[in-house]
Symmetry: C3
Subunit: 143 residues, 3 copies
């Protein structure tokens, strides 16, 4: 047993509109800077129309297919939705967020998030217009 | 680095049947009472037919639309389901739970869960009849 | 307030192909061995085509129905998918993973994950062929 360190850091990501953005390196840099060698890292998105996913990181087709699937599952402009204040993509963005993650916790080993070979961490912007997304990274463990 | 405090508290929520119930204030009160100023708060639901979501908290239409979407995606009485012991909404409740969250972790800053402006924490009851739902809140951080 | 212990352990699960495997006992054994009496346990899967769920643990029909639902929601061989490098179940496996969980956090009370009566923890293999799946369990709390 050793004393535990708690480190928290925020960053803002500008998105160009709907789609996935790789934040793996950004989060790994924060973990490295935290001084935590062994523990856990939790990433949190402070929004209801953007979310987090761990997704295959080698073939960009995977994320295009994912987008196509989401667009079919929760279609923009679906007449089932009454909440259309900000347009056709407003309510679908909320649903897509709820079907994925607002927070994700990963083990930290030797000062890095211990992801699988094919795991990348992505922010998924669900609105069609560009947005600024606030993300908090918390690292907890021993130095 | 400072010593970390670990606080755990349970509560039971009575639901009137299917729908979302705002538990944000209840959880914020537990965080405040924990004495933790900086850290994380994890909420956990001890059930397989009720779940947690972070959802838009300003327009109630969002949660009505969400309900309509879920009812179409996982219809009560769907003939694909063989597990109907407790009625038409039994298996759909399990599926809806699995597609959302049993646990959610949020950063705690200045003694409060640091949620986005539009983020509310909701228990989502998926059964049509009223139920009692047990929820555990764990707060971990420095005082 | 008492000193916090951090324990991490990994195991590899061999799956026979698509379907759910109960890992509750395995995880409870790790928690017991960790010496942590009060705290939290986080389970993490290091893959993008297998995931974690908390599911009803009494009637196996529930998990068969869940499988039937997933197969209909994200059909193998769906022409919407371009990423078919490893076959018809390749991209569906990624989507099913993203719609469920890579990490799950449960409260630990009296040296055990405090699950609800009907909650079992399952690894959900989404590929049709057998795979080896790496899982990390982190237990954090007081002894």
């Amino acid at each position: 047993m050793s004393a535990l360190v708690h480190h928290r850091e925020q960053f803002v990501l500008r998105t160009p509109g709907r789609g996935t953005q790789d934040v793996t390196k950004r989060v790994q840099d924060i973990v490295r800077g935290s001084g935590v060698r062994d523990g856990q890292c939790t990433v949190f998105v402070h929004h209801t129309s953007a979310s987090l996913i761990l997704c295959e990181n080698a073939d960009p087709t995977v994320r295009r297919d994912l987008e196509a699937f989401a667009a079919r599952l929760v279609p923009d402009g679906d007449p089932i939705f009454a909440h259309v204040d900000e347009g056709d993509d407003d309510m679908p963005a909320h649903v897509r967020t709820i079907l994925t993650q607002a927070s994700l916790t990963m083990p930290v080993v030797d000062g890095r998030c211990d992801l699988g070979t094919w795991q990348g961490l992505y922010l998924w912007e669900h609105r069609t217009a560009p947005h600024q997304r606030r993300i908090t990274v918390t690292v907890l463990g021993s130095a």
